[in-house]
Amino acid sequence: MSERDRKSMGTDDPADAGLSRLYREGAREVPPPHVDTVIRAAARREVGARPHRAGTFAVRWRLPLALAAVLVLSVSLVTLIMDEGGEELLAPPAPKAEAPTAGESPARAPAEMKSGGTVGSDDRRNDRAQPSAAQPEAAVRPFPAAPAASAPPRPEAALRERAREPAFDKPEAPLAQRAPAAMADKLAAEESRAAAGALRREAVADEARPRSSSPALSPAVARQVQALEGEVPEKWLERIAQLRREGGLNEADELLGEFKRRFPGHPLPPDVGK
């Protein structure tokens, strides 16, 4: 009992100074040190665990930093998607052109709805599955048609068709193997973009290539070349072989020269290459 405690006691409180002095003389027990250690450690631990104690810089700025990080990541992701042609994914859905065909798996529609598929994404899948002649070409092709695409049928046209085929002619994967709708759309967009890119590259190469017959050709050969315009190389080779068989060796040689200009590196059959 401290002096202050004694002063705080009421003046009329029963007390006995002699007994108090005698008691203090005899009562000197204290708790063992290990108990002190346990209690002090617990007190420090509890205080250390208090949230308001942790007023450090990191804790104070935790939320703003987290928000900033989320914002930066979101912007980066959107930018990346836009750079890779993801504007299709972000574009508003086109009006639904037609109902799903009867051949579609009944389990597919709910799966697409679950995966967040929109009407637009459904349409894109339908377009891939059943390209209709009645639909405008722009609806089928995700990018504007390249200038060369409207040219008359040429060997490049066959390549273009082949480039477009994988998007349309792939067999339907089993439902369990099918990626979610959004992923499927993304893949389809990438395929379409790759095909369009190939078409554009071909168109540029096509523009650089000499299109018309050489002015040095004889009129008869020029007519042959005009007749073969847009035909596949095999047609050209057949015509050259035919000229050789019919004895028109000069015309065949001129036509072969024109063929080599148009299809450099194309393998020549033995009877034509002579």
């Binding site: 009992m1 006691m9 009421g10 002699g18 009562a27 007190a43 104690r53």
Partner: protein, 189 residues
């Protein structure tokens, strides 16, 4: 904040509530001995006293957010200790528990015979202190508690009443009986 020997208990406790472990250390240093002796004299077993002592401080630590300096800190601390003791008594169904319901306690004449009251004995201070401790052990628990709260915690009659949950008059009566018995036991009564 730098705490000193002059810092009030209540300020130290508030400092600890605000997260200052140094305040707790000082507070603990002030009250560890008194609280331990209070519990030891009440339960009379060292191991039990240690357990109760630890429980009381842990309760104080855990309930620190609920602490408001509406009363003296010692009153608050010994109130926790009193409640813990009651729980202990109830758990172990000691007959002595009943004496908490006995507000007046036995009359002075019914007190145990003073062991240290032999007329020809000459005691030095330590011997007298030992005799006093034995007399305290023989006191009824409410009276012993009132005496210990006065001696160890420095509580006034009002504060003893608050700590033990009785009226002021009851606390005063218990304390008066306790002192009378002890005086009588020591040959002064």
């Amino acid at each position: 904040m730098a705490w000193s020997a002059d810092s009030r208990d209540e300020d130290l406790m508030l400092g600890y509530c605000a997260g200052d472990a140094a305040a707790f250390d000082l507070l603990y240093q002030r009250h560890r001995g008194g609280l331990y002796r209070y519990l030891l004299r009440q339960c009379r077993q060292g191991a039990v006293a240690e357990e109760l002592f630890q429980d009381v401080w842990m309760n104080l630590i855990r309930a620190r957010d609920a602490y408001t300096p509406s009363a003296k800190f010692a009153t608050y601390l010994y109130r926790l200790a009193h409640n813990r003791l009651i729980d202990h008594y109830r758990k172990h169904t000691r007959g002595a528990t009943l004496s908490y319901d006995d507000e007046t306690g036995p009359q002075i004449d019914e007190a145990a015979a003073p062991r240290a009251a032999q007329p020809d004995a000459v005691y030095d201070l330590k011997q007298q202190a030992g005799a006093l401790l034995r007399l305290i052990e023989d006191l009824p628990e409410p009276q012993r508690e009132a005496f210990l709260l006065q001696q160890e915690a420095g509580l006034s009659v009002e504060e003893i009443a608050a700590a033990t949950g009785v009226t002021r008059e009851t606390a005063k009566s218990r304390l008066r009986y306790a002192l009378a018995k002890l005086r009588q036991g020591m040959g002064e009564g």
